[in-house]
Amino acid sequence: MGPIGENEFFFLMQGLKWTVLLAIVGFIGGGIFGILIALLRTSKTKVARRITAGFIGVFQGTPLLMQLFVVYYGVALLGIEVNAWIAVAIAFTLHASAFLGEIWRGSIEAVPKGQTEAANALGLHYVSRMKDVILPQALKISMPATIGFLVQLIKGTSLAAIVGFIELTRAGQIISNQTYRPLLVFGIVGAIYFIICWPLSHAGSGLEKRMAKAAR
């Protein structure tokens, strides 16, 4: 058995950096494409609705780990030389855009129909109706679920370890193999995830309770 010293802890922190970066990139990228998907999913065009429904269905009906593998090897097939980091980031972006798209579709539909009708009556065109009337309200409604998904995404980045990407969990695995102290190492790794995720979960459920009270 080896000790868990400063070096080991520093290595875990290096891993943590990649975990956080991956989650941020996935969330921002997923947010941008997610809005697009939510808008297409609620559009008047049947084809757009069908295609986005299919996209969401595939990502919600398959394991995140498989999505990582398929994108990871799929990108390599395209003949573009990309490093593991970009391939994994693309996979998380696609994954997040499907889930956020579905969450936001629900919130857009949860905005009372009268709001759309009023916007139409005022002569607002589609862009202004969405940007100024519907989306701000939908965003508020979606906050608890969006934060909930962010927590899921942060936890999900751990699967990049199985593809071989060195983030927090993989760093933990490496140190565990070196020091033969798996319980201590995975205990620390779990605690780090908890410290990041728990405040978010707490904020999300607090918001949900307050909104439920306000709606009553």
């Binding site: 009906g61 394991p63 498989m66 398929v70 003949g79 927590v151 995975f186 779990g190």
Partner: protein, 222 residues
């Protein structure tokens, strides 16, 4: 693009994929069962008179829901032997899936039980129903109906999560895929095929859950 796809190399291993799929289904069903048991016990423990018991359940739920399943399964995989319990990876995976799903089930079931209003129960007694009937018809059935959508979507997630169990070499579809990949080097084809199989499994499960819902919960509520 100069790459030529070769799905034949993967289809040659169809029996292995089939057995792997059955392994995944087995893991998922056993995991769901264990999660349900932990969920019910947890809800009962959460209404316990002892504050320590209640706090322990809350800590359990929060810790499990705010840490990755991969870290949990590694922890359990290494912790069990230290406690003198030697199990094969597949059984270890079922325990990890059950513990993970159980924490979510506790929250879902608790919400369902709380959704039955006190007045309904009193109304049942006022109508002269037996205690058992009140529980079965007025508490259990509406509570089950209320939690059914979230519980079943949690079960679908649990089924998809079984793929992570490949990390401790449990017997299931993803580990079968990794074996085939290392033999054939057809990485993309293998994972593409296996992803499609997962999609079929989860779609069938969703269809089955919807069918059950229509059979048992198809009565008017107001």
């Amino acid at each position: 693009m100069s790459y030529t796809f070769d799905f034949g190399a993967v289809l040659d291993r169809a029996p292995e994929l089939l057995w792997g799929s059955l392994g995944t289904l087995g893991l998922a069903l056993a995991g769901m069962f264990l999660a349900l048991v932990i969920g019910i016990l947890g809800v009962v423990a959460r209404t316990s008179k002892s504050e320590i018991t209640r706090t322990l359940v809350i800590i359990f739920v929060e810790v499990v829901r705010n840490t990755p399943f991969l870290v949990q399964i590694f922890f359990i995989y290494f912790a069990l032997p230290l406690m003198g319990i030697r199990l094969n990876p597949t059984v270890t995976a079922i325990i990890a899936l059950g513990i993970n799903g159980g924490a979510y089930a506790i929250e879902i079931i608790r919400g369902g039980v709380e959704s039955v209003s006190r007045g309904q129960i009193e109304a049942g007694f006022a109508l002269g129903l037996h205690k058992a009937d009140v529980f079965r018809l007025i508490v259990l059935k509406p509570a089950l109906r209320a939690i059914y959508p979230s519980l079943t979507s949690q079960f679908i997630m649990l089924t998809l999560t079984t793929s992570v169990c490949t990390s401790i070499a449990a017997y299931e579809l993803t580990s079968a895929a990794q074996r085939i990949e290392s033999d054939t080097f057809r990485s993309f084809e293998v994972y593409f095929t296996v992803t499609a199989i997962y999609l079929v499994i989860s779609s069938l499960m969703m269809g089955l859950f919807a069918l059950i819902s229509r059979q048992y919960f198809n009565y008017p509520t107001r």
